[in-house]
């Protein structure tokens, strides 16, 4: 008979792993995420709210914000419609080269945005392969807001598609078959049955695309010409102000963008039940 009872670890009511894990998580996120975000807010208002407000209401700043909103909006509209269409075709039909197409659509995320912008310039710029044919006729999209929309479309291409396609893939065919047997035309089925089931994916895909487009920098700076008050988006504005040494101005807009992204993702989070496909 052993005189020394072996030590046994009892797991009673208190499990130390729980607070420990949560603590480690928060601790890791502090320097990586929380503090950088907080520093933008702290620094932006540290010089006085009046300076902050002045920076915010500068006409070029407001222009930059509006331009970002507008260009991102149109890029989003295009990519959501295209994403819907592409997801439908690539999910429903099987054909030679289908997988290659799917991979190609997803490529833009792997390409550095500066490369994307540069490629667009090489193609559509005034001396670009295709651009040089259009310029004599007065069509030149580079260095205009249109170029920003084009660059945004390229860079955010796979986002809405990537959210919508899985929904198509897992969508039961029998829903559409049921609708057909009930007597609906293809279009009626799409409108009444398919689209409502995609509602959540469309909205979250759109918001994702929009948020990403607003923050786009690498390609925009190349194709827009970065002309303040003409083609300078919010991220470009921040960068320009930083370069000029006007840190407060840069910060003010940075805060606006950060708040805006925060808003978008909060809405996405809280509305996720509504957005989920049943």
């Amino acid at each position: 008979m052993s005189s020394v009872a072996p030590a046994m670890r009892h797991v009673r009511g208190f499990d130390v792993a729980r607070p420990l894990s949560i603590g480690v998580l928060v601790f890791l996120m502090l320097p990586l995420v929380f503090l950088p975000l907080a520093s933008i807010f702290i620094f932006g208002t540290s010089n006085g709210l009046d300076k902050f407000w002045a920076a915010l209401t500068a006409p070029e700043a407001i222009f930059a914000l509006k331009l970002s909103m507008a260009t991102s909006f149109w890029a989003t509209v295009f990519n959501v419609i295209f994403g819907l269409f592409a997801a439908y075709v690539l999910s429903r039909y099987n054909f030679w080269g289908r997988n290659a197409l799917i991979v190609t659509i997803s490529l833009p995320t792997a390409i550095p945005t500066a490369v994307a912008g540069f490629a667009l310039l090489l193609l559509w710029g005034p001396y670009g392969t295709l651009g040089r044919l259009l310029t004599p006729h007065g069509f030149q999209i580079m260095f205009t807001a249109g170029a920003i929309i084009l660059a945004n479309i390229f860079v955010t291409f796979p986002l809405a598609f990537g959210v919508i396609k899985p929904v198509f893939d897992t969508m039961s065919h029998s829903l559409e078959e049921a609708s057909a047997t009930i007597g609906a035309t293809r279009w009626q089925t799409f409108w009444h049955v398919t689209l409502p089931s995609l509602r959540g994916a469309i909205v979250s895909g759109a918001l994702l695309t929009f948020a990403r487009a607003v923050g786009e920098f690498g390609s925009t700076i190349l194709v827009s010409g970065n002309l303040a008050g003409r083609t300078q988006t919010a991220p470009l504005y921040i960068f320009a102000k930083f370069n000029e040494g006007q840190i407060e101005a840069a910060n003010a807009i940075a805060i606006v963008l950060a708040l805006f992204s925060f808003l978008i993702f909060s809405v996405l989070f809280f509305a996720r039940d509504w957005l989920d496909v049943d």
Binding site: E177, A178, T181, G183, D278
Partner: protein, 400 residues
């Protein structure tokens, strides 16, 4: 119970006074590459009739349903609904009502919106839609759930919505794709009775597909048994159960014992027994080797060598196993019979002392509870086996 002395296998010929079919398929076939999925499928469904397509997985029953619905195209053959050849028409022009296995209710629409869908896309007036929806809701007894979404309903309720949804646009025929598959046994049994009552009430011809033979027998006015793409037999549940046309039908519909027999003049030689039978001369000739098929409940047992009743005696048997299965008792018995036909003209005699070199076979018999309780039997006991009913089938490979 008097045994039937003459047993003639029934054919699946249409009765001469049969009314014009509400729906029929003629000569359907379908291939997948070189493999043949369906071969020469033809049947009718009469007005107000419930026809069940019964078969195992891969028998092609789902394919038939989808072809009738218009979701798949046949290789050859025709689909005719109320006299209209719809083979070339797409699903939405056929006017069929399909109840899918998963019910396929539109998840983002309420119950009433689901039911009214068919009318909405036909651009009916709002008033008419409302009235029809109300009617149907009371028919399937779901009025209080009208504003709910499919995810909030039970399986049985969803199914009723699916049915109501098709009835809204007065379909020519209702097609049910294994509708009870996702439900537990109790609900199943309960529901199929309800559905059958409902179908009889609305009087729309219906085709069910299922792999559950009990379901098929309870649901269908007639049942078609499918085996790997072709129809083995179509008949009423009574007919196919008691007079199976092939061994496949016999064994699919329930437990069946199959024994070898030789056709003689006026009787069948089964092992050492002679069972009186008058057979269709055109199908069976003297000397032919045939199968006799009988169900466990067709077996009558008595102690000792003497038969208990006037039923033809099959053999002596030794009880190998007894199992108590609630409502009845199941026994496994070893009888004198064989798998090979004894073509020797001379019958041989058996006594209980005859050594086991004689061919024997196991059969399954069941005894209802009252009988099992009153006459108790034990393993190893010797009993006398008689048949209350049986069917004669030609040997596999040759069909009548």
């Amino acid at each position: 119970m008097k045994a039937k002395e003459t047993l003639i296998p029934k054919r699946e010929e249409p009765e001469p006074t049969r009314p014009t079919a509400a729906a029929s398929v003629v000569g359907l076939s379908k291939r997948f590459g070189k493999a043949s999925i369906l071969e020469n499928i033809s049947f009718d469904v009469a007005e107000g009739e419930v026809l069940v397509l019964l078969g195992a997985s891969g028998s092609g029953k789902t394919t038939i349903l989808r072809i009738i619905a218009g979701l798949e195209m046949p290789y050859t053959g025709k689909v005719i609904l109320h006299g209209r050849d719809v083979t070339e028409l797409p699903a939405r022009e056929r006017g069929v009502g399909v109840i899918f296995q998963s019910y396929a209710l539109f998840p983002k629409m309420t119950v009433e919106k689901n039911i009214g869908y068919g009318l909405r896309i036909r651009k009916r007036k709002r008033k008419q839609i409302r009235e029809t929806v109300n009617e149907l809701l009371s028919l399937v007894q779901l009025e209080e759930h009208r504003k709910k979404y499919p995810s909030q309903l039970s399986g049985g309720q969803q199914q009723r919505v699916a049915i109501a949804r098709t009835l809204a646009y007065k379909p020519e025929v209702l097609l049910f794709d294994e509708p009870f598959g996702a439900l537990d046994t109790q609900t199943r049994v309960h529901l199929r009775r309800e559905i059958r009552a409902l179908l009889k009430k609305v009087n729309v011809p219906s085709i069910f597909i299922t792999h559950d033979q009990e379901e098929a027998l309870e649901l269908g006015d007639r049942v078609a048994v499918l085996n790997v793409g072709h129809i083995e037999q179509i008949g009423t549940p009574f007919e196919i159960y008691n007079y199976p046309a092939t061994e496949y039908v016999a064994t699919f519909l329930g437990a069946a014992n199959v024994l070898e027999a030789v056709v003689r003049k006026d009787f069948l030689e089964v092992g050492s027994a002679r069972i009186p039978a008058t057979l269709d001369q055109e199908k069976f000739r003297e000397g032919d080797c045939v199968n006799i098929v009988f169900r466990p409940e067709d077996v009558s047992l008595s102690r000792g060598d003497l038969p208990r009743s006037t039923h033809p005696r099959l053999s002596s048997a030794r009880i190998e196993e007894i199992a108590f299965v609630g409502a009845y008792e199941r026994l496994r018995l070893r009888v004198d019979a064989s798998d090979e036909c004894n073509t020797d003209e001379t019958p041989f005699y058996l006594t209980t002392e005859t050594p086991d070199r004689k061919p024997t076979k196991s059969i399954i018999a069941t005894r209802p509870k009252p009988e099992a309780s009153s006459i108790r039997l034990h393993v190893g006991e010797k009993v006398s086996v008689a048949l209350t009913s049986f069917t004669v089938l030609p040997k596999k490979g040759t069909k009548g």
